[in-house]
Symmetry: C2
Subunit: 159 residues, 2 copies
C-alpha cells in the first residue's frame, strides 16, 4: 500500500506492508524538486520517482487524497494537480489501483477525529506504526496516514 | 508548432507548420475522454494521444496557456491541471520545448485585442490559416491560436 501526498515542491510518500508483528514501513520520504527547474522538468522528476517506487515494490494500491475545491492557495493547488496527474498516470501504467480518500476520512481513521490537526495525525501515525520518532515533514506523515487508511478500508486492522 | 488546450473532458490540439503559401494546418482535433472512466484512465488517454502527436510530428515547441488563478470553476481547473501535467510530461519525455503564453497575449496576437471573445478568436484563426470553415469546437480554435502565437513569438509572421 503506497500513500502519496502530491506537491510540486515536495511529494510525500509512504509505503507500508502488513506483517506478523503489525504493519511495517518499507519506505518513506519526500520527492523534492527545485524551483530553478522548469515545470516540465519538475513534473518529470516526480513521475520518475513515483514510477520507480511502483516498479520496485509493486504495491496493490496507490492511495491519494480526494480533490476538494476550497484550497487556500489556488496556484499551489493547480501545481499540486499537475503532480497528482502524473502520479495517476504512473499508477495506471503500472496497473496499480488508485484509491482516493476524503481528508476527513483519513484523519478519522488514524486519529479518531475528522478534524484532527497535522500534529495529531503525526502522533497517530507514529503510534500506529510504532515509529521511534515523529514522522516528518508532515507530507510524509500524511502519505503514511493515507496508506494506513487505505489498508484499513481494504480490510486491515489498525491498532 | 503544436498548440494544446488541455481539459479532462476534451483536450484541443492544433499542429501548424510554416510553408511556402503561408502557415499550414497539419492536424487538429479534440482528445475526448468519457466520464465513465476513472480519472487515471482518462489522464492516460490524454497522455497517450499527446505523446502520439509528438512522436509522429516531432514539433519543435509545444505551446500551452499559462496558468492563472481566477478560474470560475475550481474543480474543472484542478482536473484541467491533471491533464496539463501529463501534457508537460509528454513534452519533456520527447524533448519538445514547452512555451506557456498568457491568454491575453494569444488573443492580442491573433485577434489584435487582449480582450477578444471566443468567437473573435475563432474568426481570426480561420482568417490567418485560410480555413474554409470556422474552427470548432473552441478548444481547437484556442489550440490553433496558441500555436500561431508561439510561431509569431519565435519569429514567424502572421498575416
Amino acid at each position: 500500500m503506497l500513500g502519496i501526498d502530491p506537491g510540486l515542491v515536495g511529494t510525500g510518500f509512504g509505503l507500508i506492508e502488513p506483517g506478523a508483528g503489525g504493519v511495517a514501513v518499507l519506505d518513506r520520504g519526500v520527492i523534492a524538486t527545485s524551483a530553478d527547474l522548469p515545470l516540465e522538468a519538475r513534473i518529470h522528476r516526480i513521475y520518475d520517482a513515483v514510477r520507480g517506487l511502483l516498479v520496485a515494490h509493486a504495491p496493490t494500491t496507490l492511495v491519494l487524497e480526494d480533490l476538494y475545491t476550497e484550497y487556500r492557495f489556488p496556484r499551489t493547488a493547480l501545481l499540486m494537480a499537475h503532480a497528482r496527474g502524473v502520479v495517476c498516470l504512473a499508477a495506471r501504467q503500472c496497473d496499480v489501483a488508485v484509491l482516493a480518500l476524503a481528508p476527513a476520512e483519513v484523519k478519522r481513521a488514524v486519529a479518531a477525529s475528522g478534524a484532527a490537526s497535522k500534529h495529531q495525525v503525526q502522533h497517530a501515525v507514529q503510534r500506529l506504526l510504532k515509529l521511534e520518532a515523529l514522522p516528518t515533514p508532515s507530507h510524509v506523515a500524511d502519505a503514511l496516514a493515507l496508506a494506513l487508511t487505505g489498508f484499513s478500508r481494504l480490510g486491515g486492522v489498525l491498532r
